[in-house]
Amino acid sequence: MSGHAHSHKRSGLWDWLTTVDHKKIGILYLIAGGFFFLIGGLEALLIRLQLIVPEADFVGAATFNELITMHGTTMIFLAVMPVIFALMNAIVPLQIGARDVAFPFVNALGFWLFFFGGVLLNTSWFLGGAPDAGWTSYTTLALKQYSGIGVDFYVLGLQIAGLGTLIGGINFLVTVINMRAPGMTFMRLPMFTWSAFVTSGLILFAFPAITVGLVLLMFERLFGANFFNPDAGGNVVIWEHIFWIFGHPEVYILILPAFGVISEVVSTFSKKRLFGYSSMVFATVMIGFLGFMVWAHHMFTTGLGPIANTLFGIATMLIAVPTGIKIFNWLFTMWGGQIRFTTANLFAVGFIPTFTIGGMTGVMLALPAADYQYHDSYFVVAHFHYVIVGGLVFGLFSGLYYWWPKMFGKMLNEKLGKWNFWTFFIGFHLTFFPQHFLGLMGMPRRVFTYLKNQDLDLGNFISSIGAIGMTIGTILFLANVVVAARSKKQAPADPWDARTLEWAIPSPAPEYNFAQTPLVRGLDALWVEKMAGNKGMTPAEPLGSIHMPSPSFLPFLMSIGLFIAGYGFIFEHHVFSVIGILIAFACMLMRSLKDDHGYHIEPDEIEEKGVKA
């Protein structure tokens, strides 16, 4: 090979646009996801502001529908999924002792597709109106006859972002299957990696469904097809099925990584191994599998009939069993431990009762006859924010506090962190607890206002006030990030006295992750070595030259191509559609024809950095 270009000392914007390093891609996901979280949060604040008193006139009816649609869509697809991907990228390869993911190039492509899909969707605000048919975009409301250009942005933005997610999922599956260090058997995988693995599987099987759904909707809106329009023989329920065949697994795609984080954090800060590891693995796989068999519980009132309703209802209830296994295993992990209440652990501990409440209202929703009352009411809104915000977002905060040193080499401030937790926690319950009762008292969801004298005022008022708590919490987190970035103190390799492989290497992780691939000798690989009195991992290979993939601008360019094509379709200027798609294909061709030989990092360079084996 033409030697080793010393190109790994890159920095600046170009580096970020071309990087294929999973750690940097993780950071990109975090920044982009965090940004969209703020946007989605801002939309939530506007929603709550409009609902603070009855018959308020703060935003109009049409704008309100755009706000809820964009809030839901942004939060699910563009905020929390990317932050999950951020953690998966930053941590999974480290936890399995790999130098990189299986397909670094595809990894970068996945990020840029998500990013440009998200940008495309959000530009709708300025280019003719945001989508306004709800994040579920039920046909017929989402058909051209009844809604504006915004839905086209929804269709194309999600299509592009979804493609990115799909290839990301495949990448992580292959990474976990093929890239594990010697000795890292499946039953020694850390729980977070297990959950990332199952989540990736769910992505693989769920996203093609939404891809098809979006294609059908696009053909219907742009090319005059008639899948859903009943006047030409179409059927409005097909969209509902397709959306939820994807949509229900999607919620487990979201929650499983959070379960993984909680397992790691609770175990580390109890100083105990995870209670019932194998049943945890089993439960994760079970949840993933059952997740595909229950989608119609979102459609109990569609009119599928009592047989379908009860079958899907009972299948749904079954998911309580594996999830319960998890809850109790966490409790018994803490049992007999030495629990340290760091911020990461506060969020994990706060997760347990909060998620349990959300899961229980979920089981209540799963009884079809009762759901006739709950459906499309604020009770459902309360349910899913309990599992998503009280579950997933708590889990993400926990994971971020836990792994921040590994990602950035700096510790987040604990004092600020505790304030962050308590304001967010209290604000959360104030916001969403009353919504259960609002729903039962007859408040439908997706209403831009409600009339006076329906006894709905107090609950809404408290709910809106609570959102301020979450805002303060979020701002404190941002402040904490700034404080950490400014601090000069470098984080140690293993600040928490933790158990898994990622803590065996310096913080932040060096470019090549492991100077020598480690030999794994048990569950909680690092803990095993600690208990054996070793300073670090035993290497499985001699120190040698490390092969690295080259950076590439093609993922960025290719995503730009589809971005342009997206606008071409939306505004029906098909010249742009064609140009954009050609750009994407040209990039694919270039990638296919030109072999990437990568470059090497030599042992002397590794040692220069003082990272002796």
Partner: protein, 105 residues
Amino acid sequence: MSAHVSNESTHRTPKVKKSGAKAHLVTFIVSIVLTALAFIAVGYEVIPIGFTVPFIILLAIVQAAFQLFVWMHLDQKGHEFPRIGILMGVVVVAATVFTFVYWLW
């Protein structure tokens, strides 16, 4: 790079079987025969009309299995994950099709 290979997947695949070509040809013939059967069943009404649809679907499934396992080597060792992947795909598709046939409304 060999260091990354996990212990489960380090097996040396056997030498290409001499019978490889033969099995593939047999599959080809099977496919042609099954296809022909389906067309004949429909074109000449050789079996009672009521059974035709389940019959040709069964033929398609058998043919698909042959192609997956022989032509695409799903039967070979080292294909555990591909098998799981395709199986899960088939399960989800079955649930979807079943629902679309019986519970669309």
